[in-house]
Every structure is written in C-alpha cells, then in structure tokens.
Symmetry: C2
Subunit: 412 residues, 2 copies
C-alpha cells in the first residue's frame, strides 16, 4: 500500500505547550479502517522547515495530511508556503469568503481584512469544507502525491477527517490491514493475580496487553488482519477464552464504567440502594448518580465522617469505636444495615477505611478499608488493603463496593 504521512505544524506543539491530540486520534481512526500511517512529523511555524517537510513527504508518501496554520494571523503560513512549494499562485475563493463572513456574523463577530487570507488557496486546489469552524481546508495533488490541508482545531480537524479525508483515502488507497481492539475490564485482582489466572492463555495471532486503571486491571486485545471479519473472529475467540478464565472478575468488555453496569442491574432487577460512606466521602454516591435516571434506584446516602454522626444517623453502637475502632468489620456491618433500614432500600452499603496519608497504625495501615453490603437483610463484609494516594484509596474503595454489589445481584 502507498504510504500515508501526517505533518503537524505549530510552535506550540514543539515547545510542549500543547499536546498534539489530533495525531493519535487520526492514527487510531485510520488504523481501524485498515490504513496505518508510516510517518508523523512535527515542524515549527517556519517557512523553510515546512517546505522541507513537504519535500520529504512528497518523495516518500502518496498521501500527506498537513494540520495547522490555516488561520488569519501572521504565523499562519501553510497555504502560502504550500502554493510556493507547488509552484502555483494563491487564488481568492469567493464562496469560502462568503461562508466565512456569514459564520462570523452569526457569532456576532466582525469580519476584518485579515479574514480575506482564509479564503486564499493554491490555484488548482479542491476546497474541503469546514462545517464546524471558519477555516476551510483544501486538497492539492502534487506529482503523484495527494496533500490534504486541515485546520488544527481538534473539533474541526476531526470532522473534516471523518467527512472528507478518510473516505477519500479509503477510495484512493484501499485498506491494507484492519486493526480492531477490545478492552476487557476486571475488578478484584491485581495484575500478577490476573496473569496467574491467564497462564494457560496462548495468544499468537493478536497483541495482548495489560492496562492498569487503578484499581481495575484492563486487558487489551488488538487484532490485525486483511479483513474486518477475520479480525473480529480473532478478537471474539480470545474474549471467550478470557471470559472462561476470569469469570466473575470481569464486569464488562464494552466501553462502560462499573457504575453503569451496576445501575443497569439495579434497574433490571427493580432494586433500590442507599449508601453510608466514611472514607470515600460521597464518592460512591456520586458514581451511582452519574448515570441518568439514578433516582429510580438511588434513594439516599449519608457521609458519616465523624463517629458521632455514625451513631446518630445510623445507630452504630458507640462502644465499638473503643473496642474495635471505626474502621472495622462490625462498624461497616452496622453502617450497611443502618442505612438500609432508615431508607427502606433493598441494598445498603457501608464503607469505612483509612484513606491517608495520616491515620494508619501497624494493625490497620493506610489503605485498610472495610466494605459492608446489606443485601435484603443479609450482611456481607470484606476487608481490603488498597495502596496509592488518598484519591486512589477512595476510588478503589468505591469501585470495589460497586463490584461487590454487582456480584451479589448476579449471584441472587
């Protein structure tokens, strides 16, 4: 297949002030459509550098996508530099100018003389319409090489890649290899424990890797094949094997978070839930209410940070703070039952732990967290030792609590 190259222009990229998200987005988009870029080059807003990049690209690549430098200001040099490199004049495009004028007016902005620049394109260009912004792009065929020029604003860049460049590339180049990926998400095991469980797994026709999204371990499968069907078959085969080996630890192989999976299970089973949080400080309630329609299943929550509030609101036996401490099996047991009873919900969750950085002891170091779940009057409780920052420990506690609820609903 003939080579595809991307060129990013802009000082702000090379000085590290802006991260070039366009490139990785486009590369991913192209790859899943069977087109894998061969080169990516970033150059500053300098005419000589840009020209050198055009020259190198036209010699080694068949399709060149150039991003940035199409705006109205003085450091927007792309169209001018391109015209010089191609050996043609810049032409004024009336239609682009009128479009631009209308867009600016509708946003209450004035049309200035500098905007004329955005309607100047190398003679012989095909205009690429920018529906979401003001700078149109253009395509120019130089020798055997197709150049596509796009604005750097991510929203505009992406729309123009999807609407024009990708279809055009698919048409002219044809796909070479399709790349498909799937991410399988697990909760409850560490990376090495997942690895032990997957020991028998033998994957030689796909890439397989681990991603740690603390506290979750995600498994990523990437298959590459000449046909989309074949790539799908490879992915499905391995997904099935992994499902068998990891079973309950997997909560989804779709692009969704645990709170969405739990929300759907609650709604499906017509169950309601209430929460009593200490160390998570409301994070569990917040995750449960991130899902639209959460008032169907989420009744109420309490953040009982102080011991007094645990006793006052939830009826936790105050002797326990002396005998076993607030971070204990007994306390989360009573928190879970207490919140279930006062809110008349089907499920009550209690969390108490030491999020740190202070407050740890030898017996209960920072990261010690107890989770209690009262599921229709049966109480289950669990002790964990999480690690990381305060926010990591809060997140791990809330995510593990959600996963316990998921497992209990599934098992019933």
């Amino acid at each position: 297949m003939r080579k595809v190259e991307l060129i990013t222009t802009g000082n702000e990229i090379l000085s590290g002030l802006t991260v070039d998200t366009n490139f990785s987005w486009a590369a991913d988009k192209f790859s899943t459509n069977g087109i894998i870029p061969s080169y990516h080059v970033s150059v500053s807003d300098d005419k000589e550098d840009i020209t050198a990049a055009f020259s190198t690209a036209s010699n080694r690549s068949a399709f060149v996508i150039v991003t940035g430098g199409l705006g109205p200001t003085d450091d927007d040099l792309t169209a001018e530099t391109a015209a010089e490199f191609f050996g043609v004049e810049l032409n004024y495009d009336e239609k682009s100018y009128l479009d631009l004028e209308e867009k600016l007016r509708s946003r209450g902005r004035n049309v200035l003389d500098v905007h004329k620049k955005q309607a100047m394109f190398p003679s012989g260009s095909q205009i690429i319409k920018n529906k979401t912004g003001t700078s149109n792009g253009f395509k120019f065929t130089f020798q055997d090489c197709s150049f596509y020029f796009l604005p750097g604003v991510p929203r505009e860049f992406k729309a123009m890649i999807e609407d024009f460049v990708l279809p055009d590339l698919m048409h002219s180049a044809g796909p070479d290899n399709y790349i498909l990926q799937k991410v399988i998400k697990t909760i409850g095991l560490g990376e090495s424990e997942v690895a032990v469980k997957l020991k028998g797994l033998n994957i030689d026709d796909a890439d397989f890797s681990y991603r740690i999204k603390y506290p979750e371990i995600h498994l990523k499968l990437v298959a590459k094949s000449g046909s989309l069907d074949e790539a799908e078959k490879i992915i499905n085969k391995h997904t099935n094997k992994i499902n068998n080996l990891l079973d309950d630890y997997i909560y989804t192989d779709k692009d969704e978070p645990i709170e969405k999976v739990v929300a759907e299970l609650l709604v499906e089973n017509k169950l309601t839930i209430a929460t009593a949080e200490s160390c998570t400080g409301g994070l569990l309630g917040s995750l449960l209410t991130d899902i639209p329609g959460s008032s169907e299943y989420f009744l109420r929550g309490v953040i009982t940070y102080s011991n007094e509030s645990k006793t006052e609101i939830l009826g936790v036996d105050e002797d326990l703070f002396e005998t076993v401490g607030a971070v204990s099996d007994e306390v989360v047991h009573q928190m879970a039952s207490g919140i279930r009873q006062i809110s008349l919900s089907d499920i009550g969750v209690g969390i108490s732990g030491i999020a740190g950085p202070g407050g740890g002891t030898e017996e209960k170091p920072v990261g010690t967290v107890y989770i209690g779940v009262d599921y229709m009057n049966h109480v289950y409780s669990y002790r964990y030792n999480f690690h990381g920052t305060r926010k990591d420990i809060k997140l791990a506690s809330a995510i593990y609590a959600l996963d316990k609820v998921r497992n209990l609903i599934i098992k019933k």
Copy 2:
C-alpha cells in the same frame, strides 16, 4: 542556537494504539529550560525508515534524541540500525549486562539469552544508565551531531532525560530562550464575561490564552525571554493586572484545585462544614474529603436524593415540593440550614438541581441548580443555569458551591 530534534520509533505510536506522551513531556521540560525543539518525527519499527530519519536529522540538527526500540525483542532495532548508520560495530558491554542480570534477578525474573541484546551498543558510545528499568541508553557523536538513545517506557525515559540528557544539552547547547507559564484560575464567569472584564488588558510581550476547564475559566500566560528573571518579571506584571481586573473571581494562580483552597481557608479560620446534596449525589462531599486532614473541617454530609429523605433528615417542609418544587430557593435554604443545625457545623451547604438529561421544564430547564449556604445562621442562596452533560452539571454545581463558600469566608 543549534537545533534539537526528537525521533520516536514504534509501530504502536503510528497506529494510534499508544499516545506519545514522552514527546510533549520532554518538549515542555526542554522549553522551560530555554531549549525549544525544532523537529519531532515518528517512524515505524522499520530499519529503512529509521535510517532515513537518522540521516535527515544528522543533516539539520545538532542534537537528536531517539526514543524506543532498545528492548530485547525482535522488533527492537534501534541499536543495530544506529551502528549500521554510524558505520561502527555493536560492542558487548559487560557492565550493562551484569546490571541487567542483577535487576532481573531482584524482580524474580529469569535472565534469558535475548537479554544479551540489551547490552550491545555501537562501538564508541557513552552508556546512559537506566536507574529505573532494564535497558540502558547511549550517546553517540556522529559528525557534528550528538545522538541520544533512550528507552520508550515513560518513567525510564523521563528519568534519563532529567538525569543525563537535559544537563548535557544545557552544557553543550546553552539555553536560547526561557519559557515560563502561569495559569490563573477563575470561577463564576463565562469565557466572554471574562473577556469583557479584561478588555483593557494589553499583553504584547507574552502569549495570553483562555482554557475552558468547565465550569472554570483558566487564563494562561506564557512568557519567553533570554533570561529567567526577565520572563518572571513579565509574568508577574500581567498577573498583577489580571488580579486587579478579575478580583474575587480568581481563586488561585497556583497549581491547586478549588477544594484545596477552601480546605485551607476552613482550617485557617477554624471553621467546620456539612453538606446536603441532591443532584450532585455526594460529589461535593467527595471533593471536600479529597484533601488530607479533612476530618478537621468536614463533619458530615447527606445525599438526600428523594423528597422524603429531604424532609425526614433535614426537616424540609414537605409542602414546598408541591408549591415551589424540590429545585427551588426555599428548599436549598432549608437544606443548608437543616444540615448545619443537625451537624452543629459553622457552615451548611445545600444543593438541588436538574442534572439531566431528563427532568427539565420550560421554567426550570436541565442545568437549573440552586445552591444555599448557611454561614453561621445567615443563609445565602443562588440560582444557576449550567450546561453540558449530566456530569458537567454535577461538577459545575459542586465547584460553584465551593467557590461560594470561599467567597463568604474571605468576606467575613
């Protein structure tokens, strides 16, 4: 100044499966030390492509940093390709091998024959020690050009840039321009409202731009100068002017979130706080407890999602749900007072709103949020119309509530 170029190798970057975070990190690091890279090039794991990139770089740049391809596997081609390009042999470095052996053993991993490869370097190289990982890097001077070869693992790459490459570059190249940046964070105004307030501001010796971190507007100043002192002066001058124009809307010009600013104010003033949340579902409590030591000021919170819970726990007059609705001035007023009274805190916050996507009416569309603050028995309430997704509206509500608390503490 002589030019600096970065070359990233690896198929996973060009296919968009991995985002090249090393580059933007390094570019930022270099820039704040006065060294702005001139080129960045990504190539696949292909000998011919890598060689072409070396050749181009050695002709136009004085310093070339090559990342990736130093591991033990077959597609790690960098050292071999470099030796061929430089016209030298690969030499075995005993010390690197022994280091590697020790590192692998200490991690309980076996030393395999393939690992020998990681101890082979182009003859005449200077070894760059990798303290955090297994693959050492190397420096090679070819004609007038210094090549630095580093592993692609971000943690290792970053340590080696900081420990070796940056000092070496500073020594050999000397800084050209220092780039300093400062971010000023505001809450309470939209982008265009900030722009109106800053109308008189005239900045011609620095870059000035807006960043929308919904619901906050951040103002970014970037100054570039031949001396660090001068760059600092420019930044401070503009920061002072902006402080005067935006005043209370600015909550910090440091790298800290609003919850940290509020936490510090509460501790400084020995104030305690309690929260009553509806649409935010616990997010406000979670933000307040993200800060270490939050038990000093945060007493308790309730997530009164249902109307019954608002009445039962907070004593909200149930007639109000009929007459003015749960999303109203009166209800957040009673929520704020209710939670302050039952928790005996100095400050009580109540939030009720419509986070969407459903539940909006003509009078109270999605995004309508009321915030009440009971500050030592004086109750203040506010109505907002936020926009965006459900999560955006939740976040905006919690952030604005924090900012109201900040303003009230400052004014007292």
